[in-house]
């Protein structure tokens, strides 16, 4: 499906750490740039982690992905309206696959400009995901990150709670269908 209009120069990737769209530059400016140097265990079974992001232009979402380290259990990636918490899209529970690869799920959806949360949940602490573990929970709370227990599959409406783990997973969406 062709999605018009969207800016032809829209970035290929929107990620959970993109400085222009998430609090990425804010936490960098707070002195805690988040080196992503390896995967570590998901912090709790069925926990969802929510990353706020703002999108100033339409974005054609063609793939959703997460940076899996060790595969175990299932993951669910979703996008939620920041005002209402309503889930607008999710991959559904998807079995983790691969080792140290970015795992992709095909999508075909035009995300409109607005304020949102990315959500990623995982069924098990047996899975590892590339993540930033240098942000403190206090910093993450100040920058708007949230979490939710018992959230795999992701709920129809998110109920965010204060983040309790120093864990920002690397995941996102692309506007390309294959390759880069």
């Amino acid at each position: 499906m062709r999605h018009d209009p969207y800016p032809i120069w829209a970035p290929l990737f929107l990620t959970s750490i993109s400085g222009r769209f998430t609090p990425g530059f804010a936490f960098s400016a707070m002195g805690t740039p988040g080196l992503i140097g390896g995967a570590s265990a998901w912090p709790a079974n069925n926990r969802a982690i929510y990353v706020p992001f703002a999108l100033p232009f339409p974005y054609p979402v063609k793939r959703a992905w997460w940076a899996i380290g060790t595969s175990s259990g299932s993951l669910d990636l979703g996008i939620f309206d920041a005002e209402t918490g309503v889930k607008l899209y999710s991959t559904g529970a998807t079995a983790a696959s691969g080792t140290n690869v970015n795992q992709y799920v095909t999508v075909d959806w035009l995300l409109q400009p607005g304020e949102y949360y990315f959500g990623l949940s995982c069924t098990t602490t047996g899975a590892t995901v590339q993540r930033n573990a240098q942000l403190t929970t206090t910093t993450m709370r100040q920058l708007g990150y949230l979490q939710e227990a018992s959230a795999n599959p992701l709920p129809g409406t998110m109920t965010g709670a204060a983040i309790a783990s120093s864990y920002l997973p690397l995941f996102g969406v692309t506007r390309t269908t294959t390759g880069y």
């Binding site: 120069w9 992503i36 390896g38 690869v101 970015n102 590339q130």
Partner: protein
């Protein structure tokens, strides 16, 4: 749903300042800066493999004219660099051609035919004719892990010196990508 007025720059800084580099917000700086332990560029690592090309995606929100391409030589210079601009399909738009490295730990600029880029996403690419120990060095960014560089959209191609037309993109397999830039002004 509440719609927002764009408050995020729609003309990213690399365009507004007249220089687009690997680290510009409209290139992969958007993701490098939040993930870097220290925001420095190293010149001390050999080019990983002779003739390998690396390709960095960047966004152009309005028409620009590229006048020069530049890179920063490291502490060893003994190879030829070819640097250029490609579209998303890998078609070459403009390149410097094979250019002998000149100047240790120095900025090296090459004038190119003034080239207009219309709005879109492109790749700036660079290959070096020599690799391994003692190879020419280019200021580079060492990605923490390859998987992260892949998530940034960085691509590579083997046997890419001089830069071919077209190039065939493949996800990067090295924790390395070069620091290079495009100048929209006559002087850098």
């Amino acid at each position: 749903m509440r719609f927002i007025v764009p408050t995020i720059p729609t003309a990213p800084s690399g365009v507004m300042t007249g220089v687009i580099t690997t680290l510009s917000l409209n290139a992969i700086g958007d993701m490098i800066i939040p993930t870097a332990a220290t925001n420095t560029v190293s010149g001390g690592v050999n080019w990983p493999t002779a003739n390998r090309g690396y390709f960095i995606p960047f966004e152009v929100p309005s028409v620009v004219v590229v006048k020069q391409i530049f890179w920063f030589n490291g502490s060893v210079v003994n190879g030829n660099v070819d640097a250029g601009i490609f579209d998303l399909s890998g078609n070459l738009i403009v390149s410097t051609g094979a250019t002998l490295q000149s100047g240790v730990s120095a900025l090296q600029t090459v004038n190119i035919t003034d080239t207009a880029l219309t709005p879109g996403v492109y790749y700036m690419g660079m290959s070096l004719s020599t690799g391994g120990a003692g190879a020419g060095r280019i200021s580079n960014w060492q990605a923490p892990v390859v998987q992260v560089a892949v998530a940034f959209g960085v691509q590579q191609m083997s046997s890419a010196h001089p830069l071919p037309n077209p190039v065939t993109y493949a996800n990067i397999s090295d924790a390395y990508y070069p620091y290079l830039g495009l100048a929209l002004r006559a002087t850098v």
